[in-house]
């Protein structure tokens, strides 16, 4: 007899019960992480444990990327260059701007998976060509939020971090405006 484990827990009214963590990784390190359920005071206490969790999370993302790129026949990067090679060589000069625009919009996400589910949470994932990885961990019943993470990259991240002349690439993000914008956007996602 197989145990019935399909009971869905009651969803409370708090938005913090639906969205758990948000991370930004750059290459091999975590440059931003926010705990969407706890206060900031508890976050500092678990700092050493938090670093281990971030490394574990990044390692599992790398492994899933490798797994998904090999276990199925569709190759992500091939699709990226395929749209360029399909164009007529004679029209390359005239269409190059349009082609780049299409690539910019449709191919922000070069990772090999979008999200994965466990019984306790769901992890949403977006990776850019510039090796930034956006990870959002939510309740397992949330639908796919890849487009939401792309929006965060295109609007909040580029405007407040990349275009910030004080910020060094690869450093940890410690910007209060960025914190507020991220939290505001996630809360709006819950309401909307």
């Amino acid at each position: 007899m197989i145990l019935s484990n399909e009971k869905i827990p009651q969803v409370t009214d708090k938005w913090g019960d639906m969205y758990y963590y948000f991370y930004i990784f750059y290459k091999n390190q975590c440059i931003y992480s926010i705990d969407l359920k706890n206060n900031n005071t508890q976050e500092k206490k678990k700092k050493s444990n938090k670093n281990e969790t971030e490394k574990l999370l990044l390692g599992s993302i790398y492994a899933i990327n490798y797994l998904c790129s090999n276990i199925q026949p569709n190759k992500k990067l091939k699709n990226l260059y395929k749209s360029i090679s399909n164009s007529n060589p004679k029209l390359i000069n005239t269409n190059i701007q349009t082609q780049n625009n299409i690539n910019t919009q449709e191919n922000i996400h070069v990772g090999n998976f979008n999200c994965f589910n466990t019984p306790f949470y769901k992890l949403h994932y977006v990776e850019t060509l510039t090796a930034y990885k956006f990870v959002l961990i939510t309740h397992k019943n949330i639908p796919n939020l890849s487009n939401f993470l792309k929006d965060i990259y295109k609007t909040i991240f580029i405007d407040l971090i990349i275009l910030n002349p004080v910020y060094k690439i690869g450093d940890e993000i410690k910007d209060k405006m960025f914190d507020e914008k991220i939290l505001e956007k996630i809360k709006r996602l819950y309401v909307g």
Partner: protein, 145 residues
């Protein structure tokens, strides 16, 4: 429909079947990828995420499976089924299928129990070489493109 894999409780691949000619993996790559999913599933349990089930009291709580259930990507989807005995059955298919794939995975487990475990010559955790099992799997998935 791309592939069906069956892992034993130690993460070793014991059975794989490809339904599409697009899959170009050799046997060593299949074993490595299947073992990788076992490791990923174990790690995903330990990512520090709040659990709404913490207050649950159940004598079978240690048997409760917490690993990866679904991995979604562009154009494909991996659906996993963890049995209580530790067997992991997962399938790789196109994401445009709207079929409840868990039903098929449980059916595969049923076939595994009937054909493999009742075979007196089968050593537990060894690779499955059964022609009858192969036949039944092909029949089960013949309706899915």
């Amino acid at each position: 429909m791309y592939s069906l894999y069956v892992n034993n409780q130690h993460g070793t691949l014991v059975y794989q079947k490809h339904f599409s000619e697009e899959i170009k993996l050799n046997s060593n790559e299949e074993i490595r990828l299947a073992s990788m999913l076992h490791g990923i599933s174990t790690i995903s349990e330990k990512i520090n995420v709040y659990s709404l089930y913490e207050k649950k009291t159940n004598i079978f709580q240690s048997l409760e499976k917490k690993g990866i259930e679904t991995i979604e990507g562009d154009g494909f989807k991996i659906q996993c089924y963890d049995t209580l005995t530790g067997i992991k059955i997962f399938i790789v298919h196109k994401d445009d299928l709207n079929i409840e794939m868990n039903t098929y995975l449980k059916r595969v487990y049923e076939l595994y129990s009937d054909i493999i475990l009742k075979n007196p010559f089968y050593d537990i955790d060894m690779p499955i070489r059964s022609a009858v099992f192969n036949e039944q799997i092909e029949k089960l998935f013949s309706n899915i493109s």
